[in-house]
């Protein structure tokens, strides 16, 4: 129990530290336009908070604590080197303003949303937006981000530095965009958060970001939809692995192992989002997950409803990823033959060559039809997965297909591709027209 208390204190301290860091960074950067300088100023204070707060407890005004430490560094720095004096001055002025607000017990305005809009600006490389948001809003270091995105730390650092330089030099605004641009710009922010969620090691951080976004954009149904989607997927994170570490596909998971609390929260968010009557891609994706979650009560999966949602998603996004998922649902509703036809229709797309869920889906449909090519497709899917448990799962399916013992079980490995790779596809999804 005592240990749990300590762990809770550490998690809470880290949460508050990241919260305060993100708010301060947004406040300073939006006034100076210099993300790197603001990061520099806050770095020591943030590191100290992560060390001290779990032990001493969280200070009453966390931002004030961070600022006191940060300002000392800023003025030391200003004294030490006289270079770029004007920029330092700007930063000091902004820090003074923040400190004055803290002293007055006025909250520092939460400008993290403006920061997210700057980081997901269309003038920045789409690939760097998610890493940039993770670094600036949550204070994650480049090394952690690099390892999550399977990229060399030095390369990731360079790209982050370059993006921050462009924000400063091209004067990318820290602002909520005009109403006409708002929907597409919100999409860019939400896309970046979903990409972060796709990196298996950063799921908690991405959920945190989605919480921040839905809190700051309460009138944006897609922001609520994204959080609902992520909570539904999170609710199944434990049920996805058996006691022996084996991969369990969605359709074979034990619903009693799903997290009720997260599902309830997701359902509440989706309900709130639907009240706006402005459906969108994330709400539809969340609705698909909601339909899967309903198996907990009904004991069965409503595949026709899921197929209907994928039809609509395909219409909205035209995404090839959605087309694959739709084919999977089609197999469940109308059987493997129309599903194979649907997969054949997209087979020419060169992006599918290294896209694991496509090969897993194709393999399952071929296996259900008793076709010999199933084994080859399974092999391709195995060669493309990064998850050892999924690899073993597909190997079993492949062996089963080879011995012609095909049955209902086949459908589930389609969901395996869907479920395990949903993570990685996020990035892909973005590039999909």
């Amino acid at each position: 129990m005592a240990d749990d208390g300590l762990i809770d204190a550490r998690i809470e301290a880290e949460r508050v530290a990241r919260e305060g860091y993100g708010r301060l960074l947004a406040f300073l950067a939006s006034r100076t336009h210099d993300v790197a300088a603001a990061e520099d100023a806050l770095a020591d204070a943030f590191a100290a908070a992560l060390v001290h707060w779990p032990v001493t407890g969280v200070p009453r005004v966390p931002e004030a604590w961070l600022l006191v430490t940060a300002r000392r560094r800023m003025s030391d720095e200003a004294r030490r080197r006289r270079v770029r004096e004007r920029d330092r001055d700007q930063l000091l002025v902004a820090a003074e303003e923040a400190a004055a607000r803290c002293a007055d017990e006025q909250a520092i305005p939460d400008e993290r949303l403006q920061l997210m809009f700057a980081c997901a600006h269309p003038a920045l490389d789409p690939q760097i937006r998610a890493p940039l948001i993770l670094q600036t809003v949550l204070g994650l270091d480049a090394g952690t981000i690099a390892s999550a995105f399977l990229c060399a730390p030095s390369a990731m650092s360079q790209r982050l530095v370059r993006a921050k330089r462009k924000i400063r030099d091209a004067a990318i605004p820290f602002a909520v965009p005009e109403a006409t641009d708002l929907p597409s710009r919100i999409d860019a922010v939400l896309d970046a958060i979903y990409v972060a969620y796709g990196e298996a090691r950063l799921t908690d951080e991405a959920v945190h970001l989605a919480r921040v976004a839905s809190f700051l954009l309460p009138e944006a149904p897609e922001a609520l939809g994204l959080l609902a989607l992520m909570l539904h997927l999170q609710a199944r994170s434990h049920a996805r692995r058996g006691g022996d570490g084996a991969y369990i596909p969605l359709t074979e998971q034990d619903p009693t192992r799903w997290d009720d609390r997260l599902i309830a929260e997701a359902e509440g968010l989706l309900l709130r989002a639907s009240a706006f009557r402005r459906p969108g891609r994330f709400q539809l994706e969340a609705a698909v997950q909601s339909a899967h979650a309903a198996r907990r009560q009904t004991g069965r999966t409503d595949w026709p409803a899921i197929l209907g949602l994928y039809d609509e998603l395909l219409r909205v996004t035209g995404s090839i990823v959605v087309a694959i998922n739709r084919a999977v649902a089609l197999a469940a509703v109308e059987g493997p033959r129309p599903a194979l036809t649907a997969l054949d229709q997209i087979a020419d797309d060169h992006r599918l060559a290294d896209y694991q869920p496509y090969w897993a889906a194709r393999a399952d449909v071929l296996a259900q039809l008793g076709r010999d090519e199933a084994a080859q497709a399974y092999e391709r899917a195995m060669g493309l997965t990064t998850d050892d448990a999924v690899r073993r799962f597909l190997a079993e399916r492949s062996a089963a297909a080879r011995s012609r013992s095909i049955g209902i079980a086949c459908r589930s490995s389609i969901a395996a591709g869907e479920d395990a790779a949903r993570q990685r596809l996020a990035g892909r999804r973005q590039r999909t027209p």
Binding site: A170, A171, P177
Partner: protein, 117 residues
């Protein structure tokens, strides 16, 4: 902030344009330039003569080398520019989007590196 809007288009296609289409283009640019002026955003701007009039100069080992033609042979050529005053990149992008050239060619937006004392 000051930004340079560099207007790229296929000058061969422009040269081959029927006179009637050219006559439509000119008023569009006039209106755009007036719009920039009216908003107090126009600092400079002009159309460039085609790249067959371009010369590219390099100095190597103290010797001046001049090549006939533009710096880079590309499908689309720099045909004109504006220098505008804009609050931030979004405002500059808005001006770039209004430029008639953005509708057929492309407009590159570059912040000016102001030489401050």
């Amino acid at each position: 902030m000051q930004y340079m809007l560099l207007i790229y288009s296929d000058e061969k296609a422009a040269a081959a344009m029927p006179k009637a289409d050219v006559n439509k283009m000119l008023p569009a640019y006039e209106a755009y330039t007036k719009g920039l002026q009216g908003a107090g955003a126009l600092l400079a701007g002009d159309r460039l003569r085609p790249t067959d009039s371009a010369s590219t100069v390099r100095v190597r080992d103290g010797k001046t080398q001049v090549l006939d033609g533009p710096y880079a042979e590309t499908k689309e050529q720099l045909g004109g520019y504006y220098i505008v005053e804009a609050k931030d990149l979004d405002a500059a992008i808005d001006w770039a989007a209004r430029c008639p050239g953005a509708a057929h060619g492309a407009v590159e937006v570059r912040p000016l590196w102001r030489m401050t004392a």
